[in-house]
């Protein structure tokens, strides 16, 4: 079961999902919201296909995923696993992403960043979901425990 202690970062953190090609080159893209099935150890993260063409092509070939999520407090985790499917996002997930992006934009504005700039990155919705099975979780909060594997 995906540990409860990671849930706040999973649902409110800023994420980047990476993969590797068959010839071991790497790609990543930003994520804009997630859904988590704690019981079944699966995560679905939302991406914009318009800026993730190479990433999506390669993740569908190799199925390998490294999903980094962090908060402004520096608390961070890396979820590694295998892609189950990519799919078009439905209305419920788009609504969830909208709430996530609005919250993120508000947070960035409160830090003094310009709304127009933040919206350039977070204003447009994602369109694809990547559902993957979590096989390993690593703590990535800077400090002596960085890189420690969490049991689950």
């Amino acid at each position: 079961m995906i540990p409860e202690l990671t849930m706040n970062v999973l649902t409110t953190g800023f994420g980047h999902v990476g993969t590797a090609t068959i010839d071991k080159k790497s790609y990543h893209t930003d994520t804009m919201g997630v859904t988590v099935d704690q019981q079944n150890d699966t995560i679905s993260c939302f991406v914009k296909s318009s800026i993730a063409e190479e990433f999506l092509k390669n993740v569908n070939e190799t199925k390998k995923i490294s999903f980094y999520l962090g908060l402004e407090t520096h608390e961070a985790y890396n979820f590694k696993g295998t892609l189950i499917e990519t799919y078009d996002l439905g209305s419920e997930e788009l609504s969830q992403s909208e709430n996530f992006r609005k919250s993120f934009i508000d947070k960035m504005k409160s830090m003094g960043l310009p709304e127009d700039g933040i919206k350039k990155i977070f204003g447009n919705p994602p369109d694809k979901g990547l559902k993957f099975k979590v096989e390993k979780i690593f703590k990535q909060t800077p400090g002596p425990e960085a890189g420690q594997e969490l049991s689950f």
Partner: protein, 130 residues
């Protein structure tokens, strides 16, 4: 390759994302404080404690990074190839000083510590069409 359009995104205002791959094909995505401009064909990344990234590029030199211009919010993707590590000299000293400043501003003094300046050759740099 790197020009004045890109250098504002290398000032450490926003964290950058990096993904590497092990010799067994396992990706690792992480966040770093700064992608440092070295010259028009090279950048340096601070090696602090991200041991998996360091281990991966020692086995497989390919890396992928994303940087963000803090004024325009334009984002750029870079294909990189690890070249060498510097543990002393001007580049290391400048990066160490900047890292201490970033650590101080973000409440991470004593935790962010530069181990080495990892220099990468830039294979490509492309603006994301946000």
């Amino acid at each position: 390759m790197i020009n004045e359009e890109h250098t504002p995104a290398m000032q450490g205002m926003f964290p950058s994302t990096i993904t590497t791959c092990s010799k067994d094909g396992e990706p690792n995505t992480s966040v770093i404080s700064q992608v440092w401009y070295v010259d028009e064909n090279h950048v340096a990344l601070s090696n602090q404690f991200f041991n998996k990234t360091k281990k991966n590029v020692s086995e497989n030199p390919y890396a992928f990074a994303t940087i963000t211009n803090p004024q325009t919010f334009d984002m750029y993707e870079m294909e990189l190839m690890f070249d060498h590590t510097e543990v002393e000299g001007d580049l290391f000293d400048e990066m160490e000083m900047k890292l201490e400043a970033i650590a101080s501003m973000s409440g991470m003094s004593g935790i962010f510590k530069l181990i080495g300046s990892d220099v990468y050759k830039v294979k490509s740099i492309n603006k994301l069409n946000l």
